[in-house]
Every structure is written in structure tokens, then in C-alpha cells.
Amino acid sequence: MARRLTPWRWAVLGLAAVYFLVPLAASFVFTVDDPRHGVDFGAYTGIVSADGFGSSLLLSLELAVATIVVVLLLMVPAVTALRLGAPRLRPVVEVICSLPLVVPPIAFVAGIVTVLKWGPQYLSRTPLFQTFVAVQNPTFPVVLVLAYVVMALPFVYRALDSGLRAIDVRTLVEAARSCGASLPQALVRAVLPNLRGALLNASFLTLALVLGEFTVAQLLGFQPFAVWIYNVGGSQAQMSVAVSVLSLLVTWALLLALAGAGGRDRTASSRG
């Protein structure tokens, strides 16, 4: 069934375009418009030399990679085991994984702050004290990774679950087993390659989440990219908007790169 673009469809498309593109265009115009000189890209050139730009962006990317690795290592075996061994537990896990959507980040971070304050007081004489210090290391705050893993759970669970739904995990595992593969081999060689799309989706969503996260990082006193943008905005309005536009483009480019890398492998494995 060929779908023609009727006037009605054009209208909807146009409205959506206006809704998304007008603010973006306005932001861009604001950053390059100088009342005295006309067009001026000073705001953009200033970003790169600005204090903390590189370090905060790098920190955000490091956090994103660490979060993706941890959340996938946690969820892929869990969801696969759930499907193979205990399908009746699925609703329970689904509800647990959806909780972070219900709990507002502000409540979540308040809880974390309380624990971080309470812990060292009671554990000051134990080796755990050092653990509390280490997770809050400002050069790489592990506590943020832990928080982001929790916040990414709903998205990762859903992405993996739909991926697993598309393949017959049990039969694939049994086929691999009857071909002489042990259970771990069967999972790595037969199931995982067929989850590529789902893994990619999960990584996607986690990356976008971590790059844009503000509340938790700000309240815990760290400075990843989103917090840095906010801080810069306080002093230089034009530059902060320029950074927002840039961060939008950077996120977009990263997602495209991820899609490109995964997509190419995917077409190699399932041409047609």
C-alpha cells in the first residue's frame, strides 16, 4: 500500500517541524546575532577555549560508557535468564525496573545524599569509609554511574525485552546445545549476536540519558556536561545557548555514529 502525502499529512509534518525547528533556529540566531557587528560566531569559538568545556564533556562521555557497560552486564544476563528459566517472574522484574520512572530524580538524589552523609559517620572506623570516599571521587564519580544505572533500568529493560521477544531464545539455546555448545557458549554465540539491535537501542537510550542528566549530578556536586552548561549560562547567556545548540549536535552526532557502527554490522549479519 503506497502512502501518498496528502495535504493533511503535510500539515501535520509542517506543524511538527515548526514545533521542533523554530526554537532551535531561534537559539541559533540568538547565538550568532550581535547587534553591533551583525553575524558573529564568537560564542562558538569561545566555547572551546572556555574553562571546563573539555573536562566536563569528557567526564560525561566516560560516565555514559561506564553506565552502558554496567547496565548491560547487569541486565542482559538477567533478562535472558528470566526468559529461559522463570518466565513467571517477568512481571515482577518489569515493575521493579519501571520504578525509577515513578520515583522523581529529586527524591532519588535526596536519598543518595542522605546515605552519603550517614555512611561515613557510622563507618568512619571501617574500611568501608574509604569506599564512600572513592565513589565520590570528583575525577570519576562512581556514585553517578550507580545512580544512572538505576535511572536507565526502565529503558534498558524495555529495549532488551522487545529484542528477546523477537527471537525464540529457548530454541536457539537448545539448538546450540545440541550442536555441542555449553550454556555460556550458547548464550554468547547464538543469542547475543541476535540481540545486536536491542543492545544498540539500550546503549542509545542510556547515552542520551547520561549526556542530558542534570538533577542528580548537580545536587551531588559534580560537574558533567549538563551541569557545566548551566553554570556557564549564569555568566554568559549567549555562550550557554551556543553550548546547548552544540551539545544537541554532539549528542545527535554520537547517536548517529552509534547507529552507523551498529547498523553496518547488522546489515552484514542479516543482509536483505
Binding site: E174, S178, C179, G180, S182, A186, R189, S270
Partner: protein, 361 residues
């Protein structure tokens, strides 16, 4: 080409055709009893079909041999060695599944070579062997295709090649044809039979289709509610069913009421020797449609209810005087003139008949 390939394979397989024994296997899934003391021996190199209605435990038995299910009690033996505790990947059993089970991310050759890769066979060697096996199942030209580019029948052929790649001692087929359409199913089952005979590999074939079982297997084991009803060659199973269940599950059977006394039964106005287990009194005589004679007779008490043209024969359904219906297969020329409503006389040949307790209706 095919000949040389199969002959080398044949030697490899024939040396180690295995005996398989199920010993009083029992398995419960919650309240349902899947296997209720199954005893069965498969001879070396035999093609045995496990036949039964859904839920009779045939698939569970097969999966126990594959190592995917574990019995609550009882044992599975291969060549006399107890393999009940051996994990699935060390069972040395190739399996073809009901649903398409090829690895979607691998092409045909790599699918077939998967097991060899697990055994750490070198790449060149395993690809050569996989290509050989694809030739064997008639897909030599499809080696670079991915599963989604193959038809259902082709996918099952690749799955068959994959199951044979490790030269297993037992080949397990779990309703491999049930997802295919009729014509492909017919071709593939003949092909499976041909391959099995060439390779001489002990094979278990699970099916709920009695025609499939009778046409390919050396012996057919009919199962019911987790137990073995009868295990015999197809001709014996059809001609001399041991129980009423087997008689009615395999082929078409009509029940005609009779009176059993002292091992003979009075039926359709005559007295015939009876076989089968039933108490004296009212019984049903079980009759195959080709054994039942139907003759146009103006004084006959039977009435033709319906006729169906089946090619060489016409299947005539007759309502007897007491209201029971019986089916008879007549040669097409004898059936002319037997329209619906025609009065007929029904007769039985001079042979012992199978009787069973009167069916509740």
C-alpha cells in the same frame, strides 16, 4: 558427487549406530503427568517414529534423550551407558526442531559449521565439511544465504545438515515437518528417510501425523498419556492394532456393535472369532473401511448417508439399522449407484475381528 559424499559419511555413521533405551521414565509438570513409566528400546540404525496425540509425552521423551528435560525417575541409556546425568552438549545427539531454529545471524554454511566451531575444528576444514553436508541435503548452491532468505523447507534441510555435522550417534527429529506446507512436507520426509537409510543412523522421529509415521518409519511407537501403547512395524500396527486406542489413532476405524461370548462375537448377523481385550457382553467391533463390504440391496437395513470420492476408492458412510455409522472404502466402479439414501447390506470378511469395550456415547 552425492554418492561419494554419502559413502564416506555412511562409513563413519554405520560404525557407531547406537542403541537407545528408555527405562521406566517418569516426569510430571505440576499436576500433569507427561511420562508415566515409559519403556522403549530403539535398535541400532533404526528409524523409529514416536506417534501420539498432543500431550501424550512423545516430545518430552525426545527432549530427555536430547538432554533438555530430566526425568523424575527412570533412565535413558545409549549403547547401554546411562546418559541421564550427561548435559545436553555432551550427548552426541543431533536434533532438528519443530520451529525454525537456524541461527539468524549466520548464513547456511556457518549454521551447519556451528557445531564444528564449538569443537574447535579449523575454519577451512569445517567450512569444507559444512559445504559437503549442504550438498548432501541438496542445498549446495545456497551456502551463502541467511535463514530469512530461505524457504521453510530449505531452512529445515539446513537444520538437518547442522544436526548431522557432528556425526551424532542419534538423530532426533521433533516434528520437523509440521510447519511446512503439504507438498514440501512430502518431499522432505522422503528425503529424510533416504538420508537416514544411507547414513544408517539411529533416528527418533516425533510426529502426531499417523500417515507420516507409517510411511517413513521402520517401527512406530504409539504413545498415550505418557505410556507406550504399542510399538510395531507400520503394517502390523495397522493390520493388528494391540488396543482400541491404537486402532482408532492409526488409520480410520468404524465401531460396529456386537455381542461377545466365549471368544466369538456376533456381529452383522454372523459369528466371528474375536481378538482384543473386552469382557463378555455388549462390545464394539473395530473395522477398517477397506475390510467392510457394502452391497446395494433393496431389502438391506443399512442406508448410505454420504459418499466421498478419494480417487481409486470411494468412501461410503453407511448408517446401520441401530443408528451407528460405519465407513467403507469401495472401488470406484462398485460404488456407482450408491447415492445418499440407497438401501445397502453391510458385511464382514471371514477373519478374526478386533473387539473393544462399548464406547460411551
Amino acid at each position: 558427487m552425492n554418492m561419494t559424499v554419502t559413502s564416506t559419511l555412511e562409513k563413519a555413521a554405520a560404525e557407531k549406530a547406537a542403541t537407545v533405551e528408555f527405562r521406566s521414565l517418569r516426569r510430571e509438570f505440576g499436576p500433569t503427568v507427561a511420562l508415566d513409566g515409559l519403556d522403549l528400546t530403539v535398535r541400532p540404525g533404526e528409524f523409529l517414529a514416536l506417534l501420539g496425540p498432543s500431550g501424550c509425552g512423545k516430545t518430552t521423551a525426545l527432549r530427555m534423550l536430547a538432554g533438555f528435560e530430566h526425568p523424575d525417575s527412570g533412565a535413558v541409556l545409549v549403547d547401554g551407558a546411562d546418559v541421564t546425568g550427561v548435559p545436553a552438549h555432551r550427548r552426541d545427539a543431533g536434533m532438528v526442531f519443530q520451529s525454525y531454529s537456524l541461527f539468524p545471524h549466520l548464513n547456511a554454511v556457518d549454521n551447519v559449521a556451528f557445531g564444528l566451531r564449538m569443537r574447535k575444528v579449523r575454519t577451512a576444514e569445517r567450512r569444507a565439511r559444512a559445504a559437503e553436508l549442504l550438498e548432501l541435503v541438496g542445498l549446495g548452491d545456497k551456502r551463502d544465504r541467511y535463514p530469512h532468505q530461505l524457504s521453510g523447507g530449505q531452512q529445515q534441510r539446513v537444520a538437518l545438515a547442522r544436526a548431522l555435522a557432528l556425526r551424532p550417534r542419534v538423530l532426533l527429529l521433533d516434528e520437523p515437518l509440521s510447519a511446512l506446507d503439504a507438498k514440501v512436507r512430502l518431499n522432505l520426509r522422503e528425503e529424510i528417510r533416504r538420508l537416514q537409510q544411507e547414513l544408517g543412523i539411529t533416528t527418533l522421529f516425533v510426529t502426531h501425523d499417523q500417515e507420516e509415521a507409517l510411511s517413513v518409519a521402520d517401527r512406530v511407537a504409539v504413545m498415550r498419556a505418557g505410556r507406550l501403547e504399542q510399538c510395531a512395524a507400520p503394517a502390523e500396527l495397522y493390520g493388528r492394532p494391540a488396543t482400541a486406542f491404537v486402532a482408532e489413532f492409526v488409520g480410520t476405524m468404524s465401531r460396529i456393535p456386537g455381542e461377545l461370548t466365549d471368544g466369538t462375537v456376533a456381529v452383522l448377523g454372523r459369528r466371528l472369532p474375536a481378538e482384543g481385550e473386552a469382557a463378555d457382553g455388549s462390545v464394539d467391533v473395530l473395522v477398517r473401511p477397506e475390510a467392510l463390504g457394502v452391497r446395494a440391496d433393496a431389502d438391506g437395513t443399512g442406508r448410505v448417508v454420504a459418499t466421498a470420492f478419494l480417487g481409486a476408492v470411494v468412501r461410503v458412510t453407511v448408517r446401520l439399522a441401530d443408528g451407528t455409522e460405519a465407513k467403507a472404502d469401495l472401488p470406484a466402479h462398485e460404488a456407482t449407484g450408491l447415492g445418499a439414501g440407497a438401501p445397502v447390506t453391510v458385511s464382514l470378511p471371514d477373519r478374526p475381528v478386533l473387539v473393544a469395550g462399548r464406547a460411551q456415547s
